[in-house]
Each structure stands twice: as structure tokens, then as C-alpha cells.
């Protein structure tokens, strides 16, 4: 069984949505002062995006090899680095860039090994 490109695309979409969910959770968590502040829209959006991401992921793994699709979730780390830079002004360090490159290379290898 090979892994269809459409499945890979769905998991890719799931990884983007999930990484955005983390951004909103962090934005929301920074505004926590008391129990009522748990109801802020940012936390809601973050949780919603995580749930949405898991729906896309489930849809993605319906066809194709899980051993190919699951490692693709690690692309979420890559997007998270980008959002961290853009939204929270976190600096790219040498380790982060090396990690990013290794993850991308790994995902490409796994995808090529799908056949």
C-alpha cells in the first residue's frame, strides 16, 4: 500500500492547524489570572484548533501507511518555530535551524520510502 499525496496533504494541513493551536494556547495562557479568564477566546481558539487538527489527521490516515503519515506530524515543530519567530519574536538559534533541517530531510526520506 502506497501513501496517496492527498493523505500527506491532509496531515500537512493538520500539522499547520495544530501548530497555530499552540500559538493561540500560548496567547491565551499569558492572559490567565483567575478561573474566569479560562474562558478567553484565545484559549477557546487554541483548543478548537487542536480538535480541528485531529479531525484532519484522522481523515489523513484513513488511507496510506501510518508509518509514513505519523512522522509527518513532526512538521508541526517546523511551523511552530516560524510562528514563534513571527508572533513571539523568538530568535532562531543554530540548534533550531539544524533541528528544522533534520526534520524536513527526515520527512522527505520517509515520504520517499513510502513505496
Amino acid at each position: 500500500m502506497t501513501t496517496p499525496i492527498s493523505s500527506m496533504a491532509l496531515v500537512l494541513v493538520a500539522s499547520v492547524i495544530g501548530s497555530l493551536g499552540a500559538v493561540f494556547l500560548k496567547l491565551g495562557a499569558a492572559r490567565l489570572h483567575n478561573l474566569w479568564s479560562l474562558l478567553n477566546w484565545r484559549l477557546g481558539a487554541g483548543v478548537g484548533m487542536y480538535l480541528g487538527s485531529s479531525v484532519f489527521y484522522g481523515w489523513g490516515i484513513k488511507h496510506g501507511q501510518i508509518s509514513v503519515l505519523y512522522p509527518m506530524v513532526s512538521l508541526g515543530y517546523v511551523w511552530t518555530l516560524v510562528w514563534g519567530r513571527l508572533v513571539f519574536n523568538e530568535r532562531f538559534t543554530r540548534e533550531k535551524l539544524a533541528g528544522l533541517g533534520l526534520i524536513l530531510a527526515g520527512v522527505v526520506c520517509v515520504a520517499m520510502g513510502s513505496k
Binding site: S54, K62, S67, S74, Y77, T93, L100, S114
Partner: protein, 134 residues
């Protein structure tokens, strides 16, 4: 923050001890994560419609998503307790379990490209953990 400060921070970060019990808990929970992936896959292949009753009674699917939720909560707690640089590489053990389990259960192909890819992803995740203070 200048380079020297950052370097020092990373060094202290590496010296900080992480309790062995936490390491073991995280390592064992990666098996939960892998089991969740396998169950979700089994469940999803059985999905034929979006009928809510059919989805809710799809045992592997429900169990898979449930286990995955448990794993996520455990990881959030673990990351509060321990250093990212230690926890991240351990979490990526899940990639190995998923590769091995899917080979035996679904007869997914296993080849050098896949193994090298997995190894590269694991190293990458480990590097990220080192690059992020806190």
C-alpha cells in the same frame, strides 16, 4: 540576550537534573502514543460515513483518540516538570514504536529510506529541544 549568556543558559539547562522516574514515565507513555496511532488507523479504515452513532461506536477510533488525549495531557504535565531538552528526544521514541508496530500489524513497508528518515526526524526534534531555553 548575547551569545555568551545564551550559551551559559544552555549549559545550566543541560546540567539540571531530570528525575529518572520522569524519564521512565515519558518513555513508557510514548508506547501509549504509538498504540493510539495504531488504533486511530484501524478505526479510520472502518469509517464509511459521518454518522455520529457509527463514529461513537467505532471502538478502535474512540480508544485511539482517547489514548492520544491521555498522552497529550501527560506530556503537558511532563514538560512542566522536566527540561525540554530531555523530554523532547524521549517523546520522539514514539516514531520508532509506530514504525515497528505498523510493520507487524499493517505490513507497512520497512526500508532504509524510512529508517534514515525516522532517525533524522528524531535527531531534529532533539536539536529543537536544545535550542529552546526553558
Amino acid at each position: 540576550m548575547n551569545v555568551v549568556q545564551e550559551r551559559e543558559e544552555q549549559i545550566t539547562q543541560r546540567q539540571q537534573a531530570v528525575p529518572r522516574s520522569l524519564v521512565w514515565t515519558v518513555a513508557c507513555s510514548t508506547v501509549i502514543c504509538a498504540a493510539a496511532q495504531i488504533l486511530m488507523k484501524i478505526g479510520m479504515t472502518r469509517v464509511t460515513s459521518l454518522d455520529p452513532i457509527a463514529l461513537a461506536t467505532n471502538l478502535p477510533l474512540v480508544a485511539g483518540y482517547g489514548l492520544y488525549a491521555v498522552f497529550c495531557v501527560m506530556m503537558i504535565l511532563a514538560l512542566r516538570e522536566g527540561e525540554l531538552s530531555v523530554i523532547y528526544p524521549i517523546i520522539s521514541l514514539a516514531y520508532i514504536w509506530v514504525t515497528v508496530l505498523s510493520y507487524f500489524i499493517f505490513h507497512d513497508t520497512l526500508n532504509w529510506l524510512k529508517l534514515i528518515g525516522i532517525l533524522s526526524v528524531i535527531l531534529g526534534v532533539a536539536m529543537l529541544g536544545r535550542g529552546k531555553p526553558r
